[in-house]
């Protein structure tokens, strides 16, 4: 039962990062590569038309996590207090940037909201990567210090950083050199993903140039990926044990690898949607590989006194989880139907779609 909900939440989160991920990436590309007003407008539109229905997936993932693993929800949300609230503020800045830019015609207004959209997209991608880095690195559960726990064993509180910026410190902060690397991987991955989305959904004048950008970013991503695997071994020497024990889990890193390799052929790929699928594979593979390396742990402990949080010691009651399966399946079916209807009606390029304002 725990496994069913664990997988469901992982699926919902992954869908969120594929969908809202392209808006984040669109924002990053917009920030660095869009020069003419026409491109800026159409690129912002390719995210602006969809962001709110994409963000619903985050709300859904949050709700399901709350229902199925309340102890984990409570521990992680209070432990990562500041970064989570910062994420909320960035989400707001990004949304208003997208909604407001085309409300008035003068350039200064547009520039303000373009920057708001671009910078918050970039920071959000970075923060989500850092969050993933924190999950795989683990936290100081119980606030353990010199033999004394200051909190209950399943609670913790992380400062944004500690002086050493090292993941190996006894009290690692949210930001250290390891989580920064994972954050950069997220930024590059989502930038590639966003560029693919722009190529797929718009006729912007930089589409051809973006293929070159994707190629170069992909090289950076490959280097960062290899580098992160090495340092991961330093941070957590047992990080790959799960894959040795259960070789079928290797499917997840392979998904990532296939996306990475495939994107080197970006200039030869005829159909834009294929390239978008490849960058989606990066996201799917990246998230699932990280989760699989930990399973059934969902938050490791950096001290030996307190047990890590697992899907079993944080789950709600058996009855609650099983009754939720009925409505959960119904809910998923309905969502699937809405998505099919929506995608059929809103297919094609966005250039001439009416923004509704």
């Amino acid at each position: 039962m725990e496994i069913f909900w664990y997988i469901s939440i992982a699926v919902v989160l992954t869908v969120f990062f594929i969908l809202d991920g392209y808006d984040f990436g669109t924002g990053i590309i917009h920030l660095f590569f869009a020069k003419t007003e026409k491109d800026k407008e159409v690129i912002a539109k390719s995210a602006g038309l969809f962001w709110d229905s994409n963000e619903v997936w985050l709300v859904a993932a949050g709700g399901m996590l709350f229902m199925a693993f309340p102890t984990f929800y409570a521990s992680v949300f209070s432990g990562f207090y500041l970064p989570l609230i910062l994420v909320l503020w960035l989400i707001i800045f990004r949304a208003i940037g997208l909604e407001l830019r085309s409300q008035f015609k003068f350039q200064m207004w547009k520039d303000i909201w373009d920057t708001s959209f671009g910078v918050s997209s970039l920071l959000l991608a970075l923060f989500f990567g850092i969050a993933l880095g924190n999950i795989v690195r683990g936290v100081n559960l119980g606030g353990f210090d010199n033999g004394i726990s200051v909190h209950e064993g399943h609670y913790f509180f992380l400062p944004l950083w500690d002086g050493s910026f090292s993941p190996l410190s006894e009290h690692p902060g949210v930001i250290d050199w390891f989580t920064i690397i994972i954050g950069l991987i997220a930024v590059v991955t989502l930038a590639i993903h966003g560029a693919n989305w722009i190529i797929l959904k718009t006729n912007s004048s930089i589409n051809t140039k973006l293929k070159g950008v994707i190629f170069k970013l992909n090289i950076v991503l490959a280097v960062l990926t290899v580098f992160s695997l090495v340092v991961w071994q330093v941070v957590n020497p047992n990080s790959l044990d799960n894959f040795g024990d259960k070789p079928y889990l290797l499917i997840f890193p392979l998904i990532y690898l296939s996306g990475l390799v495939g994107l080197f052929f970006i200039k030869k790929i005829k159909k834009d949607s294929h390239a978008f699928v490849l960058s989606s594979l990066l996201i799917v593979g990246g998230i699932t590989s990280s989760l699989a390396s930990l399973f059934p742990i969902i938050l490791p402990s950096v001290n030996d006194t307190h047990e890590p949080l697992t899907i079993y010691n944080t789950a709600a009651s058996e009855y609650g989880l099983s009754v939720a399966i009925y409505w959960g399946i119904l809910g998923f079916l309905l969502i699937l139907i809405y998505m099919i209807i929506q995608k059929r009606l809103m297919k094609g390029k966005v250039d001439n779609m009416d923004y509704g304002h």
């Binding site: 229905s53 709700g63 309340p70 209070s78 609670y155 409505w327 929506q342």
Partner: protein
């Protein structure tokens, strides 16, 4: 510890107050949009379709604001109320997760289709998408009220030795006797807000002598919906809720009605007065004898417990705020009924559009239904104190054990600043949309 609880509560109160400005409009407005669209399908008069599309624009702005201010609400359960989430997540997580699955997806998918898809889909499907948006937004209200009803009147649970609440009966969450009256009351109050907004914009167009035809339609529709909903929000639904409070939360009932001392032969209803917490009485009181006993129990002489009958630990911790919230809500509700009844009468006599003072009044009335809705929620939430889960889990036992008050004050200040900016931008956008008006553009 004390200031920690204070900041946590203040931050939640501030962010939920700001958030609830938006859903209270969208829920009611979606009903009016469906009405306009349905009328258009029947009579094919273009201005009805314009109205549906115009208000969907207003809806969309409010929906966006609702989304971006709503995510912080969900997050705050975990960030600031971790202990509460840990202990009750197995139960209220059900209703909150269902809200995400059954209402947000429905609402957001079909909102996009309603706005972009009229030409693609044809008129009947366009009405259907509007209806689905309405359904999604009301489902959202249903699940939130189910969550709140459980906190007000917990049912279907079992408490484990470690203090965790475990779900024992899923369907009890939805057959909770607190839920249906609270849901109907809340939804009708939302219709009141949106009717007043529609009427107010109508009055504005008429007074400004611009888009007058649409203005008249807005005013007429707003007045009719406004009259019906402001009556229904008081009787039977408001009355029904008050009886629930009297039955299940007698301490809260005594506090919100301002009854300091129990009177043997029937309780009076307080119209005006200021709670004096030192001398335990109401200053400058104007009250009518025996009415409260009659309204609550249909018995003029029934004794109702005053605050003197309860231990201090069982009474709400802020009696004056609760008392004022409740009385402001009831007072405004009464004024709404009066004004809408007058406007409806003049509408029937075909004089409404020419009576300027009333048009001005309706135009400037628009903030008050918002205040009435919010004070209604304050009544519910302050009345539940000092508990998060009534009678079972105290508010002070629900906060995050690891987050310090300095952090909460920091984020509270950030939210205040950010929401001031958001509020300003919201007004600019809505003002611009109203200024452009509903008239279909000539291409």
């Amino acid at each position: 510890m004390e200031d920690m609880i204070f900041y946590d509560r203040l931050q939640f109160a501030f962010t939920i107050t700001f958030h609830y400005i938006f859903p209270q409009l969208t829920m009611g407005l979606s009903l009016l949009i469906v009405y306009f669209k349905w009328k258009y399908l029947r009579n094919k008069i273009e201005k009805y379709n314009d109205s549906a599309k115009f208000f969907m624009k207003i809806f969309a702005i409010n929906f966006t604001m609702g989304v971006v201010t709503g995510i912080p609400m969900e997050f705050q359960f975990g960030t600031n109320w971790a202990k509460f989430s840990e202990l009750t997540g197995g139960i209220i997580g059900q209703t909150l997760a269902m809200e995400g699955m059954f209402s947000f997806f429905l609402e957001s998918s079909f909102l996009a289709l309603f706005i972009f898809g009229e030409k693609l889909m044809g008129q009947k499907l366009h009405l259907l998408t509007g209806f689905l948006v309405f359904l999604g937004s009301w489902a959202s209200g249903w699940f939130i009220l189910a969550t709140n009803a459980w906190m007000q009147h917990p049912v279907g649970y079992e408490i484990l030795e470690n203090g965790k609440f475990v779900l024992e009966n899923f369907s009890a969450l939805f057959s909770n006797p607190w839920l249906l009256p609270a849901f109907l009351h809340n939804q009708l109050a939302s219709v009141v807000t949106s009717s007043f907004v529609v009427a107010s914009i109508g009055a504005f167009y008429i007074l400004r002598n611009k888009q007058v035809e649409h203005g008249k339609l807005f005013l007429k529709t707003g007045v009719i919906f406004g009259l019906v909903s402001s009556i229904l929000v008081a009787f039977p639904t408001g009355d029904w809720n008050a009886k629930n409070v009297a039955k299940h939360q007698p301490a809260a009932f005594a506090a919100m009605e301002g009854i300091f001392e129990t009177e043997e032969a029937g309780a009076e209803i307080v119209l005006i007065g200021q709670p004096n917490m030192v001398e335990k009485k109401l200053d400058n009181k104007i009250a009518v004898p025996n009415i409260l006993s009659f309204l609550t129990y249909q018995d003029w002489d029934k004794q109702i417990d005053g605050m003197d009958k309860f231990e201090k630990e069982e009474l709400p911790d802020n009696v004056p705020a609760l008392y004022y919230s409740y009385h402001i809500m009831v007072g405004l509700g009464t004024v709404f009924m009066g004004i809408m009844a007058l406007a409806a009468f003049l509408l029937w006599r075909k004089k409404l559009y020419n009576i300027k003072p009333l048009l001005w009044t309706i135009m400037f009335l628009v903030p008050f239904p918002y205040i009435a809705n919010l004070t209604g929620w304050y009544t519910a939430e302050l009345g539940r104190q000092p508990y998060l889960v009534y009678g079972l889990l105290r508010t002070s036992d629900g906060i995050s054990p690891t987050v310090s008050s300095g952090n909460t004050l920091f984020t509270l200040l950030g939210f205040v600043a950010l929401y001031m900016l958001l509020g300003l931008l919201f007004l600019v956008l809505v003002g611009k949309t109203i200024n452009e008006g509903p008239k279909s553009k000539l291409h």
